[in-house]
Assembly symmetry: C2
Homo-oligomer: 306 residues x 2
């Protein structure tokens, strides 16, 4: 099945306790599409870059089945840039710099061939841009998932609430869920957020795993305990990409299958953090992924003997 | 099988966002033995109280199969007292008051009938007292588990390191594991701590679940997502009590069975936090526990379809 994804394609300066990289490849749509490419090769990407973005990375994405017809390249302009420094615990980070550049007036124009996606992953962007994408679709996708962040809750809550009524699955982290709902308990937060529109809610808790809420059902996926986390950047987007890639591959909207998709998303995220930037996502194969999934099975599997 | 437990039997003043209780029943050995009593009725308790402790609570414990022959009652003295206030997130708390009282010079004397336990749970106490208990045993138990806290790492590290060489399983929380090992990564922390003695290490992460480490094996048990957590006091001790009670009941030291024991411990802890003090631990039955275990199965169960 086809997957359409919209989000940033960008540069990051990243500092973690394990090192520092400058002008590393980043961006939500980059991570999402690379992670999804291990599950489906029918991926359409919508984004915008300047003329400073390396052709080599674009070629790598194309070779993995990511269609870049919807990637706008602005001559004489610069790509979106973010700089951040992680604390020693790797859960907290400070944003040191954000330069919108080409993103400032980004209008996501969907090529005609993009307008009938089976699955749609809206990466973190201003809610109005996310709405603009949905409005250009000719048919309703089987599943629309959306990521967002606290910043949009602060400055664009009305637009965010509008787009929440247009989607199926919201994928956010615990602090975002708490801010959006005004509830500390994630169970209570989930109940309030589901009332805002999305039938499915995924709450990412970083190294503490992820929760999937749907109706009365709750599923918990652990994060893999790792000795070293080199760079958490992009882990959330990689999770979303693995999740939606697996959904597009299997084309099965049952809760049972969505649980598997959450595990695949968690597995892809566990790879992402093992090296800086997108490095790890370029070098995986199916055996790596299957072995990683087995580790998740062993991690949580028990026979209750009831 | 028989379970011996040593720890405090005490009073707590507790304030949470949901209310306040004064002189509520508390203490590690109280929670441990009550939780374990749902799995084995062969429980011997060693502790010390003043003459201020209510007979009603002692009768409740006895009626649940907890033998109190090893509970010293000091006439004219007061029981151990702790007062704490939880933050809104319920993960952090401030200690407002600690009065050692009878605990100041506690010498744990084991009655003759206590000296051959099959299983031994050493609740959080000064490491020297924990060592004194082990030294009085006539036979090595099948499993010795121990809880401790940061405070003993600060002021009694040598004694703590000594007792770690005498036990099988250490049950501590994530911050304690980090302090004891000097490692932030729990995987690295576990590797260092296992070298200090215990073959099994359980790291409790509160609302984020618990990890069991043994050799190269890792098992993760989630915490049950709850809408309301009224009072986290005693949850860690209840976890340990459920864990050791299940081990004593099943008498199976395999890793597979220990995984189940961790889930039973988590289930008992999930009950504990639903009401103040030991209230919830007095009113459960086997059906409650089986239904709770089913919720844990549903929470993490998935078919990887590999």
């Amino acid at each position: 099945m086809s997957l359409l994804t919209v989000g940033t394609v960008a540069f990051d300066d990243i500092e973690t306790p394990f090192g520092k990289v400058e002008m590393a490849i980043g961006g939500a749509a980059t991570y999402i599409s690379l992670a999804a490419s291990y599950f489906t090769q029918n991926i359409n990407l919508v984004s915008v870059i300047g003329d400073d973005f390396p052709q080599e990375t674009l070629d790598q994405m194309s070779s993995k089945g990511v269609n870049l017809d919807g990637l706008q390249v602005r001559e004489g302009e610069k790509s979106f840039f973010w700089a951040g420094k992680y604390h020693d615990n790797l859960n907290d980070r400070d944003t040191l710099d954000t330069q919108l550049n080409v993103l400032a007036d980004f209008d996501p124009v969907l090529p005609a061939s993009y307008k009938n996606p089976d699955y749609l992953m809206l990466g973190n962007l201003t809610p109005d841009v996310q709405i603009r994408v949905i409005e250009q679709l000719e048919n309703r996708p089987k599943l629309i998932a959306l990521d967002t962040m606290n910043f949009w809750m602060d400055i664009a809550l009305d637009s965010l609430k509008k787009v929440l009524t247009m989607i199926d699955a919201l994928i956010i982290n615990d602090e975002e869920a708490r801010q959006l709902s005004g509830e500390h308990s994630l169970v209570k937060a989930a109940a309030k957020i589901v009332e805002m529109g999305p039938k499915f809610l995924v709450i990412k808790k970083g190294e503490h795993g992820a929760l999937l809420f749907h109706g009365e059902q709750i599923f918990f996926a652990p994060a893999l305990p790792l000795a070293e986390v080199y760079d958490p950047t992009g882990a959330g987007d990689t999770f979303a990409g693995g999740f939606m890639g697996y959904m597009a591959q299997t084309d099965d909207l049952s809760f049972e299958n969505m649980k598997r998709a959450i595990i695949y998303g968690s597995a892809m995220a566990s790879f992402c953090v093992e090296k800086f930037s997108i490095q790890r996502l370029l070098e995986l194969n199916d055996v790596d992924i299957t072995n990683r999934i087995k580790r998740f099975v062993n991690l949580v599997n028990f026979d209750a003997k009831l």
